[in-house]
């Protein structure tokens, strides 16, 4: 079993999930409450990664983060190394790829909160940040947990973006799904089977924890 790949996948998934929650919560709040013509455009852009083949997204990210673009040169200068073929590059790619899996459930959760509660918060002097922290987030914990679980499992299982932007560097960019690909290429089907089962286990465990949390909250609210 490739423990190094397992550790890398878990580290990538955890980092990506944290970054996505930090970006996704304010973005989803804006999408759920904005009344501008920009909203459908931003919503479409955040949903686009669902429709794009992962290799396409990975290819353009590879080009964008490479040495031939200003973005690539700037990030290389700031970080001291190019983003492509690095763990940081994988995080950037994973964040973009899984963005809809964070934003969609969060925005749906925020939209489902009774507007009368938000109006009372406004009347009682709460600004947008306090309304988010004190009203929306506590009433959308299911959505936050669902978003986190989806981002985590989606990142653990991603392949196309990781391969395009990170390649296959053991310890740096070789995740579980890349390890499976390598094992199949080497006709090590038994090893590929073990790694695949591990991947399924990680995803299943995340979902079981999610549904257990939902059940316990449901029982508490009953």
């Amino acid at each position: 079993m490739d423990l190094q790949a397992l550790w890398l996948s878990l580290r990538l998934a955890a980092t990506t999930t944290l970054v996505l929650l930090a970006i996704g919560i304010p973005l989803a709040y804006w999408l759920a409450s904005a009344r501008t013509r920009l909203r459908p455009i931003v919503e479409a852009i955040t949903t686009l990664p669902i429709l794009l083949p992962p290799t396409v997204l990975g290819f353009y990210l590879l080009v964008l983060l490479g040495p031939h673009t200003a973005v690539g040169r700037l990030t290389a200068r700031v970080l001291g190394h190019p983003l492509a073929f690095s763990f940081s590059g994988l995080v950037v790619g994973s964040v973009l790829y899984s963005l809809p899996f964070a934003v969609q459930p969060l925005a749906a959760g925020f939209r489902s909160v009774d507007t009368a509660l938000l109006e009372q918060a406004r009347l009682l002097g709460a600004g947008r940040l306090r309304t988010l922290i004190s009203v929306l987030l506590p009433l959308s914990t299911h959505s936050v947990i669902a978003a986190a679980a989806l981002c985590f499992t989606h990142t653990v299982g991603e392949f196309g973006v990781v391969l395009m932007i990170g390649g296959d560097i053991p310890g740096a960019t070789r995740t579980l799904s890349i390890a499976i690909y390598d094992q199949v290429q080497e006709f090590s089907y038994a090893a590929a089977n073990r790694t695949s089962l591990l991947l399924i286990g990680v995803a299943a465990l995340a979902l079981v924890l999610l549904y257990a949390r939902r059940s316990s909250s449901g029982a508490a609210n009953a």
Partner: protein, 232 residues
């Protein structure tokens, strides 16, 4: 009691409905009375800052809350207005205490706790302080919602049919507690029996327009039979 400048002028169009009102609030209690669809709730929502009117001017306690000509529109939280609706929208993840404390976060913890206790006691709800909102009965929720709205000591309290759905004893108890307070109240109702004995001025609203203003019993007496038939 804070002085409310007698100046509320609102013109608001919403689809095919037009609200056109101009009146002064000179009494402690003013009842906005009229049939369903008269524009009573819309008027309160505009006063509270939850709806932007097409045009208008609202002054409260010498402060301009809204003046479309001068592009002034204070946000809801800075108008010093409490608003309690028919469905008390208590925050379900908080206790009664947490709900009442929500609007007085600027106070230090000791003052805040004292104010919360005082407000809950005012409405006979001090024993409910640690109950979570979803576990309260309908009447208890209304008491907590009133305590929450009054905790920041607003200059004006807007009540939109706050006693609807309550049994007579609870409604009478809550109303008598409200009447003992030193706060200016705009009270919306379409229940003539509920408001008949209130020491209030009435603004009679019909299809978005004011048809009469004056002492409640004096204004409504000639219309009483007609209104009773209309409201049945």
């Amino acid at each position: 009691m804070p002085e409310l400048q007698p100046d509320i002028t609102i013109h608001h169009r919403q689809g095919r409905f037009t609200l056109d009102t101009e009146f002064s609030v000179t009494h402690a209690w003013t009842v906005i009375f009229g049939p369903s669809g008269a524009g009573k709730t819309t008027l309160l929502r505009i006063l509270a800052g939850l709806v932007d009117p097409t045009s208008g001017r609202i002054q409260l306690g010498g402060h301009t809350l809204l003046d479309r000509v001068q592009h002034i529109s204070l946000p809801a939280g800075r108008r010093s207005i409490g608003f309690v609706t028919q469905q008390p929208a208590l925050f379900p993840h908080l206790t009664a205490r947490g709900n009442v404390a929500f609007g007085i976060r600027h106070l230090d913890p000791a003052s805040r706790e004292a104010r919360v206790t005082e407000m809950l006691r005012l409405f006979g709800a001090e024993s409910l302080a640690d109950q979570s909102a979803p576990h309260l009965s309908g009447g208890e929720r209304k008491r907590v919602a009133l305590a929450r709205a009054l905790a920041p000591a607003p200059n004006l309290l807007l009540l939109d049919e706050p006693l609807a759905g309550l049994d007579d004893a609870s409604a009478h108890d809550i109303l008598s507690r409200l009447l003992s307070l030193q706060v200016r109240v705009l009270y919306v109702s379409h229940d003539l029996a509920e408001i008949w004995r209130l020491p209030a001025e009435v603004v009679l609203l019909d299809s978005g327009r004011i048809t009469a203003i004056g002492p409640l019993q004096q204004v409504l007496a000639p219309h009483r039979e007609h209104l009773l038939r209309q409201l049945k």
